[in-house]
Symmetry: D2
Subunit: 346 residues, 4 copies
């Protein structure tokens, strides 16, 4: 039994971590940190947890709080953890950071896309990028885990085997993705009001969404050389879910069977990745509430392209679920512990 | 470990039973019965269960199927179970019926409201009405469980303590309720198409909704004499959830403290009923995916009325969850087994 | 051709006034006033009006602005108009106020329910309550129009003929209403975020919603003596629409025919009120985008009660549409001018 | 004043034609044809038109019906018009066909993608493809108008100027599009039930959606040589709206200014096409209920690609609105007559 603290516990991802850890056999939640809601009962904010969680939010000294726990989850705005993390803190607790602070190895790239000065660039090299199915071995050994973004988790996992096996011309990769609104967070912004989002669809962050360099970096590792993509996210009126549609030109002679084999090779034994049967297309509702990634593809012989599709729950596999999966790997627990919830339909 | 079969497994309530039983330690699902989808893989219909359930729907002889299991759930249209159930079948397996066939003791009332001839009226007296928090003792001893309707579960539990303790004038009770669309089932009807339901609200079944006599019968038992109510259900554009708003005139001298005490007396020890703190109003999102009933109330001193409010997930406490809770009672399991899921927000 | 100014033009109701006036033959919009967005292009905020409205929001001196127009619409927070209106301003332009400032005749009642000091109580007596179908004659002669609230418009019109004709026991009237989220306005509040509202239903303002005294005052006039009601509003996940369900005990001997006759007597010639055919229930989608009020009812002979139901678009008949209808009456235009849009389905 | 008949009047597109023609000064609706609902009051099906349309659906002999009108709209399944149309009928009335029967010039292509035998291939050459902004001159002279599909209208108009002016490498064009659910029609299918569609996103028709050859044919004309694209549509939970995101590689040296100039050249004088200001992205809510096409773009200098984006209301510009616009052109009316509705927000 380990002890966990959560910083940024009152955001949607923070609350999802709380929900998942409450069902985890090996973890006790020690404290819930929230600057905005310090002193308020956590269950008065998230009333789904009424009679289940009976403690207030706190905002005490982080160094002291770190003494009380084995792992700290930070579901905080970009820049927060980079501004407080030190080797001393890392010695006290393992950190699983849901922000982008330690995801990108090149600090200049981070600073350019995030328009922020990185306050602890020297720690970046200690961080492991926590895409569990790809980096499992490194994750097991780290004390600083950079939990991937929601779009990136879905986008990378969907394309990874084809890039890794050299089946597509990586320079032709175009990613379009759809996201539910919870990805925008719980901040009080007009743009996220029900009446501004409901009954509408739009693209956003066109050509400059911050998940772009993260996707590019990871797929470049898989590719063996740098690649650049176009990533266009869209907002659609639903609470949860990410759907990624990725198009790329097939290398000469590549068949649907080759693609299927590549997916099977990399994901055939993965319990959280479900490879669709022939011609089936993922739907976000079929992964809602779960840690699953559903992946399908279709070859277009007319254009010699492949259309790859992936679906995840942005708050689970795209945030809190993957964070818990990373924690399980980092502490040697069963990787599925706390993550066995079956998707809920409808 | 007991064995269960589910008839009507491809409806929304049927699928929810499957989902809950998959997380239940004491139950193995033996077969999934569906006339419409016999021979098809269950997971091809409910792809949330892809790689989790690996069996086809069947539609074999029910008598033989009953030999294989300890309990049969029927999530079927009104009239189905009444037309097939016999003492012989009841001797083979316990039945938990999610239809209305055995809920109403007076067969004439059933036939009038449901416009159906009851094919096995002699079995009605063997049935126990499965409102767990009220009838726990009788439930434990029955082999034929009439699982309450979704509106009725929410409506009755919200008003029960005040009726039972004589705090309100039961003849003044007016119930208005809101339901998500999953309550209408998975049949291919124009009225339930996305574009017919989305962005709209309406009442339906006004003065003649079939849950009316069920609510009246149970509250009449609590009242000690017959009562009649007005029950008006409404359809609102969401997947899950029932919200009941119930207004009644207080008997002379009754205070908010009296009401609070009555709720505490009857529900203070109930793990699935959460009594809101003063002035808090339930919201369906805070019970979604769970077996909770959230109940709140407000006294209006101007009009000497009380407004009681209850919220449930119609597919869990309003159907499959309560069915599993009843099964737990009937088989002597921990009453919360398989039902500990925390509501998921958002 | 008259000239109009709109104060509070960037709220949802303000924008709806703009939209409706743009289709009105007798009105030119002279200016759009918004404190929060002064200087910004109106069409940059409401991009539905891109290439249609080409002027910035202003926040100039109201007295000077009043010189430029014949009518001023105020779609502003409670208390705003009461704090700026004077006889001098009223001499310059007619005012149509969408706030509650001049709706309630008894200033003490206003101050109690709104928890605000009324800054110009002496002007209240000059105001006419703008429920067009009831007060048409007085509306024609006023310079200060108190435009009714959304819930109140729907609630009063639905019950008015039965109260006026003495068909129901007015003391037994219970009103439950459902509202879309646009009624909550465009302010940046967590409670109105998509993910807080979507997939949920709840009551709010239970026993203390501010539309209660407004409904009571108007129905008391109809009744000939004071009545008190219970009014319980609910929030449901849709953009527009109000649905009111009203239950009351029938006076002795009253029949469905009497009720039908009462509705016909009062509304038979009203172009914006549609009396449903027997047994039909209104739905908000069938009035969306229009100035219609759809009204239906059902007598419950078992309980001797009537269930009355009304549906409106909260931003049209419940706000901007009724404001334009009032303007039409006040200036002697065709009452339907600018209001002939047909409801849009789906 | 001309007379119009509508075949397939009870589908969503049919109803939208009715709604638009009711606001058109030059057209009288003569009859509403519906096989499924023959004999039923039209307003009992579309109750938004209660007290507005007072006639039953009919299913009489089409040849006789054609004698009564100047124009017939067919909002019917693929294959219907092709199976009934003759030169004789065309001599009686002009036809505006919302199905795909006469959109594609090559009958083999039609038969391959639609898996239907074309019953009147000899008439295809008489048809004009009714993309108003591109084919205005030919539309004016035809008696047989093939009204474009919803996805195609949005997809083609968004890319047309760049293809026509040779600014992009047309072979690299990738189109991803999102659609609201009304595009799927009003048929009673499980897949379109509220609970199957709400809170989910998915792709469909991947590599084989029937709008693909239609987009390819029209863009090939613009390109001057055949092109093939990948078109991937997605279903998102909203009633109306299409959003197209189109990515293509820029030809050498092409700048954002060149692209802007191309759009201005082709659409600068178009009243229904709104070119977004720099960096603004269309949103479907800003065109809802209107005939507008909102188009924006962004150049990605990193990848040398352009991302083009278009938004329409699928039932208006994507179906009924464009049909009315085509009628206006065919009969010499003001092209905007009946189509001046301002988008409604929210």
């Amino acid at each position: 039994m380990i002890k966990a603290g959560i910083i940024g516990a009152t955001g949607y991802a923070g609350n999802e971590i709380v929900r998942l850890l409450l069902g985890h056999k090996e973890v006790e939640i020690k404290w819930l940190y929230s600057k905005s809601f310090a002193g308020q009962d956590y269950a008065s904010i998230y009333r789904n947890l009424f009679k289940i969680v009976d403690s207030p939010c706190i905002a005490d000294d982080i160094s002291s709080l770190a003494d009380e726990v084995d792992v700290i989850f930070t579901a905080t705005p970009q820049g927060f953890l980079a501004s407080v993390l030190t080797d001393e803190l890392l010695a006290k607790a393992k950190f699983i950071d849901l922000s982008a602070d330690y995801r990108i190895k090149d600090v200049a790239t981070y600073e350019k896309w995030y328009k922020l000065e990185h306050k602890s660039p020297e720690l970046i090299k200690k961080a492991v990028y926590g895409l569990c199915e790809i980096n499992r071995k490194d994750i097991a050994g780290t004390r600083l885990l950079a939990n991937p973004g929601c779009f990136t988790t879905c986008s990378i996992l969907t394309a990874y085997p084809l890039v890794k096996e050299g089946l597509i011309d990586a320079d032709t990769l175009i990613i379009n993705a759809l996201s539910g609104v919870s990805g925008a967070g719980r901040g009080a912004k007009v743009a996220n009001l029900f009446c501004e989002v409901n009954e509408s669809a739009k693209a956003y962050g066109v050509t400059n969404h911050r998940h772009t360099p993260e996707i590019e970096e990871q797929l470049s590792y898989a590719n063996g050389s740098p690649i650049m993509i176009n990533f266009t996210p869209h907002l659609v009126p639903m609470n949860r879910g990410i759907f990624a549609t990725e198009t790329a030109t097939l290398k000469s002679g590549v068949t649907a069977e080759d693609i299927k084999a590549a997916y099977e090779k990399h994901y055939g034994n993965e319990q959280f990745i479900r490879l669709m049967k022939d011609d089936q297309v993922p739907e976000t509702r079929f992964v809602e509430g779960s840690n699953f990634v559903d992946i399908g593809f279709k070859v277009d012989e007319r254009t010699n392209r492949v259309v790859m599709m992936g679906a995840i729950d942005n708050l689970v596999k795209g945030a809190a679920g993957q964070a818990v999966q990373n924690m399980n790997i980092m502490f040697g627990f069963d990787e599925a512990e706390g993550l066995r919830a079956i998707p809920m339909v409808p």
